[in-house]
């Protein structure tokens, strides 16, 4: 059932509706296998699914196919332009979105997080924040969550001070920069301190756009365009700047922290829809959100601003922001927001279940513990990473619960005593160990009695959260 197809039909065909046949017709159709696939049709299908690069078809790069190549490039180009900020291996790509809704395909280029520093900050604080930004890391189901950029703000409006601050920043990090000031002479001073760094210039507005455009051209930098709550102006500026020769733009319709939140949500949504569904090229640029504006509000305690910044960032991640400028460096603000980013940018085509079976961790022997979990991918990877980081040697039996977590599979009767007994047999667990003791998750505690009866194994009820496995084993295993 494809309900969403109806939206697409009434609007300009978006990338998703591209058919492999359309693409195939433009390929050389020689089935030469140079791309690594069996034939041109298979390659066309992968192209449409965004699973392979156009350049892998090397014959297409030859002179005779030049026209076809360009047509294909146009056909496959994302409605939201991909813009690179920074240089070198820490450069960050933003935008490049192919669809408005993640279920239409997947979102690429996760929202980049930039932490701010200012040109009036004491040097040690600046360095601390820059190092902290670079050092931020959280391992979430086997993936490292990171921050991506540093935004240097000129609060002084003094070119010399800004230059010094930018210099200090680039001395301390290779992360890409955003240079923030509405004064061209200030931005210019900053660019002189980082001439080859390709920072994002923030921002051109209705007054300074020409000077900012010159700077962007001179230093080959992407340029942000700022027109708070005025999409006509924003679009006009985009048109003007593009005609001026600046090709890499980033749009800022304004992040209003309080009463204007509805405008922010509405503006971000309109821009993305115009780009993805209406093919509006002037709005087909990445979006920048500034949750840092939560600090514009007066509050008795900073936690109030942090709290607001955290939810503002979340709303912007959900609603199409490609890069964010954030002030709070507190873990309780950055953790939920970077995890949300990870969630929203997970490929929805990825399966939610892992294979059932008996997995060995470390070097288990016949006396090693046998634990059990379900085959919901998130559950499995969480348990697996807890076991791995504890360094315990053990077996983990993964029961096929049709991709359900422990609590829901117990409630939904996909994880039952019968199922556990059956799985123990299926994977011949009794041949691996001498004991007949099975540790089940705390959340499946209610199955313990029945499992014991049906399987003949002694059942130990483990912790409710796998982070406590090491402690549990220490206390309860022999």
């Amino acid at each position: 059932m494809n309900d969403e197809g109806k939206i697409a039909m009434s609007e300009k065909a978006s990338v998703k509706e591209l058919s492999p046949i359309d693409v195939y017709m433009l390929l050389p159709k020689t089935n030469c296998k140079k791309c690594g696939l069996e034939n041109c049709m298979a390659y066309a299908t992968k192209l449409v699914n965004r699973e392979i690069a156009l350049e892998l078809c090397t014959p297409l790069l030859e002179k005779q196919f030049e026209k076809a190549y360009h047509e294909l490039w146009e056909m496959l180009k994302p409605p939201v332009k991909e813009v690179t900020i920074g240089a070198g291996d820490k450069a960050v790509k933003i935008g490049g979105k192919l669809v408005m809704y993640r279920h239409e395909l997947a979102y690429f280029n996760p929202t980049a997080f930039a932490i701010d520093v200012t040109d009036e900050m004491p040097e040690e604080e600046l360095v601390l924040r820059v190092k902290g930004t670079e050092g931020y890391s959280y391992t979430y189901i086997g993936k490292e969550l990171k921050l991506n950029m540093v935004a240097v703000r000129s609060t002084s409006n003094d070119p010399e001070k800004f230059k010094t601050a930018v210099k200090k920043t680039v001395e301390n990090t290779k992360l890409p920069l955003i240079l923030c000031s509405f004064k061209p002479e200030v931005v210019e001073a900053g660019l002189m301190a980082a001439p080859k760094a390709r920072p994002l210039i923030y921002a051109a507005n209705k007054d300074n756009w020409k000077d900012m455009a010159e700077l962007a051209l001179m230093y080959n930098c992407p340029l942000a365009v700022f027109a708070p709550n005025d999409l006509k102006l924003l679009k006009s500026l985009a048109k003007t700047l593009r005609d001026y020769g600046v090709e890499d733009l980033v749009l800022d319709p304004g992040t209003f922290p309080n009463d204007g939140l509805a405008d922010t949500v509405s503006n971000f949504t309109m821009i993305r829809r115009a780009a993805c569904k209406r093919g509006d090229e002037l709005l087909g640029f990445p979006l920048i959100g500034t949750p840092i504006t939560a600090w514009l509000e007066k509050a008795d305690v900073p936690e109030f601003n942090m709290w607001n910044e955290a939810y503002l960032a979340s709303v912007l991640i959900d609603r199409y922001a490609d890069v964010l400028i954030v002030h709070s460096t507190d873990g309780w603000v950055l953790l939920p927001t970077t995890i949300l980013r990870q969630n929203i940018y997970t490929d929805p085509r990825k399966p939610v279940a892992v294979e059932a079976g008996l997995k060995a961790f470390g070097q288990p022997n016949e006396n090693s513990p046998v634990m059990m979990t379900t085959n919901f991918a998130l559950t499995y990877y969480t348990v697996a990473s807890d076991i791995e980081s504890s360094g315990v040697n053990c077996y983990l039996m993964v029961v096929d619960t049709e991709g359900l977590a422990v609590d829901s599979s117990v409630a939904g009767r996909k994880l039952t005593a019968e199922k556990i007994a059956e799985t123990l047999k299926q994977f011949k667990v009794e041949e691996k160990v001498k004991h007949k003791k099975l540790i089940i998750p705390g959340k499946a505690a209610r199955l313990s009695g029945e499992t014991q009866e049906l399987s003949g194994w002694e059942v130990l009820v483990g912790p409710r959260d796998s982070s406590e496995i090491p402690k549990f084993l220490q206390e309860k295993w022999q």
Binding site: D3, E4, K6, R50, E51, A53, L54, Y69, W73, L76, G96, Y101, R102, H103, L128, K131, G135, Y138, T155, K206, K210, N229, L231, S236, L237, K239, Y244, F256, D259, D263, R278, T290, I292, D300, V301, P302, E303, W307, V315, D318, T329, D330, G331, W332, P336, I339, L340, N343, P348, R349, K350, V352, A353, G403, L404, A405, D407, G412, R464, D465
Partner: protein
Amino acid sequence: MKDLGEREEEERKKALLKFSPELFEILSKLQEVELEDVDLDVGDLEIWLQPSAVSARPRVAAPSAVPKKAKPSTIIEVDFVPPVETYSGKIVEVQLGATKSEGGTRGKSVIVGGERSPAYYLFENQTPHPPVITLDVFDMKVPLAKAVKMHVEEVVGDPVAWAKLAVDKFGAQMITLHLVSIDPLLNDTPPKEAALTVEKVLQAVDVPIVVGGCGDPVKDLAVFEKVAAVAESERVLLSSITLDMDIEKSAMLAKKHGHVALAFTSMDLNHARELNRKLYEFLPREQIIMDTTTAALGYGLDYAFTVMERARLAGLMGDPELQHPLSSGTTNAWAAREAWMKMAPEWGPRELRGPIWETVTALTLMLAGVDVFMMMHPAAVKTVKDVSKKLTTGVTKGRSEQLSDWVTLKI
């Protein structure tokens, strides 16, 4: 960011003591947060995704540069037309609770649904009704996050007092009475006794209520039979009706006694359609709210978000089987270990991490289209209420001068 974290930890501790009464008063009282877990229906998390597919980014190089035009000297004005779409479908309006004049005894009733556009597409249509938040109340002692337990300690085990506290102290618009004790594997409370609890709660508070079962399809139905009768015409939300229940009996209960069915399924739109279709045989559409399962931030929220967003879009596009208000068991956010676990100091106090976790989970789903939030932490509830108010009251409040010089903001 360890160094920063440590340095600020001290200050934060001090700050926690003087939180403004607004949002953080509640938080400042919290010392210990520990969640052993919350036994709510997390429900089925079925595989609904297409298998396979490695996602490699296409690396496409730009074709040769476009010929340059003369540089403009003034702003070239172009028009912006809001990309407004029309939809053939509309989400049905569902009333929860009934006042005296409506045949019940509630002080107020609440209407949810009625959307004609995706969530908060305010350039198309205003949001007809703000989402409603219903606070959890349990009929027996259950493992609770200590962050929550702090506020309800004196009333745990006494659902009547708990319901009153939720309404009087936390300003709950609705409450959800979870009849956990009816579970045959727990207290196996008989239906009559459970119905008596519902009756008492209805007498104690005058907000609309949700009655939650234990997830056992047979026992829940037996209990709902009694509950529906004692709560005659109160438009109670029966949470929930599932595919493995006797649909005819469940639906007829709601119809006969004037209640609303919460059609609860796994994260699978085909299941949601199937259940609704079965309910339509007996129950008017205006008596059905749907719940396609909520997973926590970090633990499947992406699936929950996308399924709800798809359900809403499909309903608006004209799919008659998905045109119902959406409900979310947002309390499930607390299942995420990052919400309750003590972590290294750089990750901040869990007194803040927990409620922000619930808040982010809720707001994400609000943007997917959720109309009814079943929630737990007072601070999260307050924020979600505030944000929904801002989003519902509409656009044109963002003044450009408010932001025109944010770059020089001194923090």
